[in-house]
Amino acid sequence: MKARHRRLLWIAGGLAALGVAAVLVTNAFRSNLVFFFTPTQIADGEAPVNRLFRVGGLVEPDSVQRVGDGTTVTFRVTDNAKTISVAYTGILPDLFREGRGVVAQGRLEPDGSFTAREVLAKHDENYMPPEAEEALRRAGHPVGAPAQFQQAGAQTP
């Protein structure tokens, strides 16, 4: 009987530890989820104030401007229906370009603009961030397939 008691104690202790871990994990999980919103949703007031979220779409052509000493950049993100103005301080990723897909993570300011903490536009030249693609699709502007070979003489099978 004694061995069985001890085993029960072990199991109870283990379950308690797992329970505590589960509570910690779900709490951390809930408070760190980052939701995604399209410019249209933000214009409709669906996006939260004072909470980190992501916005995605295309960088509107001719909208990129440098502010102050040049380390702060502002640009507009569009889903071809609505646009939102984004400010970001820091180095933009290599694949950030006007007319290309972009995802920015940050907060909404009281004036309706968006301050990004992170701008994501990495990966290869055909890459469209899934969030950006989603935003365009929802606004009714699906993106075409990426261009294939650009070299002369090359053809896709």
């Binding site: 061995a3 001890r6 072990w10 283990g14 530890a17 797992l18 871990a21 910690l24 994990v25 951390a28 999980f29 760190n32 989820l33 980052v34 939701f35 995604f36 980190l52 992501r54 440098r66 000493d69 040049g70 380390t71 301080t89 820091g90 180095i91 933009l92 290599d94 694949l95 993570q105 990495k122 990966h123 290869d124 030249e125 890459y127 961030p129 899934p130 969030e131 989603e134 070979f149 650009q150 070299q151 002369a152 003489g153 090359a154 053809q155 099978p157």
Partner: protein, 666 residues
């Protein structure tokens, strides 16, 4: 011709894998000479499979080296201007190529098991090789039907589309093969578990055979992940070394489970307990490495690692995952009652400590799994797009690992079966006192009280102190004096363990110190301007254009001096970060420049050009950052030392000796 030859090798390899998967396994259930004859197929077939895998892989590598643009894959991922090492690395720079690397490495491991398994009983070896062949057959099928790397392009392209510039880096040459060695190496542990379940016996001998294979796979996995991390650190240009990106998590989850497995195998060998748990971990580890392959290759996520999105591929891998994991769990359910429990142990004993660490590692893995899969599942079900950022992983992973790090110090010192707390306290009180004091005082000598830094430092110092106590005990003779001559009295596996634990301490120190005292700035700089960052003054002296083999670049020149040193004195280092434009794709790339040191890195990258010659520049000073990867290297070396233990080879020696004696006496 080479392409057709390679494809033919793959088809042959599939046939051989099917034969190896069926005949020896069937033979292992038959008695008498038929069974023996069927089982005898295993080693030749395994070696043939390895040879075919190597030939298929070399075929593709040759096509890349020769830039044969009549092969679709080469036209897609190579270029006339691409230098040779990157052309060869481009072999695995695509979905098809990386799956071929998977198959190649799996066939390599299968061949290695065939060569180094002379000590194994025939039945066990036949079943292990059959299991490996079954996995190989699945992947070959996948390759041949959904991802043929040798597909032709008609008419041939004049030039290729080039390898993604981000992948044109020495990291690309070493990171994927090492990582796959680890990933795929877990299949050997899995095969041992399956073969053990079929025979329904997990004795100390089984654990002793399985251990070195698992440890070696774990070492490769450790090195592969560390190398990926270094690469991300210098290539992505913003100084981070771990991003909790789904792809990183995909390799980290098997690592966590493999770490648990390596430890539970030790208990299975030494104490004959934890057997069911060990089997479950082996299944889980390989299952996670398949899941990782699914996550990375199926296109459910988009990243630099995901090359193509073809739903058929994802479905195939998911199906294969279900068969492998489901089948082995079913086998486990049937066999679990026969596996049995080993001898019991007290609540405070080395077994109990190892069990706690195992549970913590698996729970941490589950937390990472949740954060990785949840967004993918929501997205697949079209329930919205969310992302789970690093804050989640940090806030869950760190508290779970903290107790594990504390117990890690005690584990090797506690006795098997039953340890006494007063005993442990007596042996470790100085280690505890010194590490607590030093952890509290060290930050004070730098810039004041920092509780989190102290906690991190405490774990690093505590593990080190405990290792030192254990090592001192090992070197102390019966007369109580330390003697280095006692070094050889202890098995390599014990030294490997302590070395591995020391690696963890170095790693923790690196993470803690670099997180606590890194400084960085992003600013506009003009030639002639100096910025002071931490203890360093960084002066921008100018720009020059540069022409590389397949890119054009603007290179900055920066002089690094100690802050306060004369501005015309000899600089400590000259750093030349670049902004490259790759000609074939037009893609820009930031190349950071780093002055590396054991106690700090000075890290510079150039963002965008502003008016005139001014640039946005990012500068970091990162103390002790290299300790992170140094720690991983030490862990892996510890693993290799441990796997080289004579004990794991003794069987072979004894058996060979016995074989020599028998004919002589007959």
């Amino acid at each position: 011709m080479i392409a057709e030859f390679g494809q033919y090798m793959l088809a042959l390899a599939f046939a051989v894998a099917v034969i190896l998967g069926v005949l020896p396994l069937a033979g292992s259930f038959l008695r008498g000479s038929t069974g023996a004859r069927l089982m005898a197929v295993d080693r030749p077939a395994a070696l043939l499979l390895a040879a075919l895998g190597i030939l298929a892989f070399v075929s593709l590598a040759t096509l890349f080296a020769r830039n044969d643009f009549s092969v679709l894959l080469v036209a897609m991922h190579s270029n006339l201007q691409l230098p040779l090492p990157y052309r060869i690395a481009a072999t695995w720079g695509s979905h098809e190529g990386s799956m071929l690397l998977w198959v190649f490495i799996l066939s390599f491991w299968t061949g290695a098991v065939a060569i180094f398994s002379s000590s194994l009983p025939d039945v066990l070896r036949a079943r292990i090789l059959s299991t490996l062949a079954f996995i190989a057959a699945g992947f070959l099928l996948f390759l041949l039907f959904t991802s043929n790397p040798f597909e032709r392009l008609m008419p041939p392209a004049a030039d290729g589309r080039d390898l993604n510039p981000m992948l044109q880096d020495p990291g690309m040459v070493f990171h994927p093969p090492l990582l796959y060695m680890g990933y795929v190496g877990l299949s050997v542990a899995f095969a041992f578990a399956v073969a053990g379940m079929i025979q329904g016996r997990f004795d100390a001998a089984w654990a002793r055979w399985a251990r070195p294979w698992t440890i070696v796979a774990w070492c490769f996995l450790t090195l592969g992940i560390a190398l990926g991390s270094i690469w991300a650190y210098y290539e992505l240009g913003w100084g981070g070394w771990w991003f909790w990106d789904p792809v990183e998590n995909a390799s980290f989850m098997p690592w966590l489970v493999a770490t648990a497995l390596v430890h539970s195998l030790a208990v299975a060998e030494k104490r004959g307990t934890f057997k069911s748990w060990t089997v479950l971990l082996a299944i889980l580890g390989f299952g996670l490495s398949l899941l990782g392959t699914f996550i990375v290759r199926s296109g459910v996520i988009t990243s630099v690692h995901a090359f193509a999105t073809d739903p058929a591929r994802g479905v195939f891998i998911l199906l294969f995952l279900t068969i492998v994991v489901g089948g082995s769990l079913l086998l486990f359910a049937v066999r679990a009652p026969t596996i049995g429990n080993g001898p019991g142990f007290a609540a405070i004993s080395r077994e109990a400590l190892l069990l706690s660490n195992n549970v913590l590692l698996v729970v941490a893995m589950a937390a990472v799994l949740l954060g990785t899969l949840y967004p993918l599942i929501l997205d697949t079900l079209d329930m919205g797009k969310i992302s789970v950022g690093p804050p989640y992983f940090d806030s869950v992973f760190v508290p779970l690992m903290a107790p594990a790090l504390f117990l890690m110090g005690i584990g090797p010192i506690a006795r098997w079966k039953e340890a006494r707390l007063p005993d442990l306290y007596a042996r470790l009180r100085w280690a505890l006192a010194i590490s607590v004091m030093a952890a509290l005082l060290l930050p004070l000598t730098v810039d004041g009280f920092r509780p989190l830094t102290s906690i991190g430092l405490f774990f690093a110092l505590w593990i080190t102190a405990c290792v030192l106590v254990a090592v001192a005990d090992m070197l102390r003779g019966p007369d109580g004096r330390l003697s280095l001559r006692r070094f050889l009295l202890h098995p390599a596996s014990a030294w490997g363990m302590h070395l591995g634990h020391l690696g963890v301490a170095v790693f923790v120190a690196g993470v803690t110190i670099s997180n606590s005292w890194s400084v960085d700035r992003e600013l506009r700089m003009e030639p002639g301007q100096t910025v002071v960052l931490g203890d360093y003054a960084i002066r921008f002296t100018g720009l020059k254009p540069l022409t590389g083999p397949n890119y054009d670049s603007t290179q900055g020149r920066f002089e690094v001096r100690r802050a306060g040193a004369a501005a015309d004195g000899k600089p400590l280092a000259i750093l030349s970060p670049e902004k490259r434009i790759y000609r074939a794709s037009g893609q820009p790339m930031t190349e950071a420049a780093i002055d590396r040191g054991l106690t700090r890195d000075v890290y510079l990258s150039m963002g965008e050009p502003l008016d005139g010659n001014a640039w946005v520049v990012r500068a970091h000073v990162k103390p002790f950052i290299n300790w992170i990867w140094l720690g991983c290297l030490i862990m892996a070396v510890g693993g290799f030392v441990s796997a080289a233990d004579r004990r794991y080879r003794q069987h072979a020696v004894r058996r060979r000796a016995a074989a020599r004696i028998v004919p002589a006496s007959a």
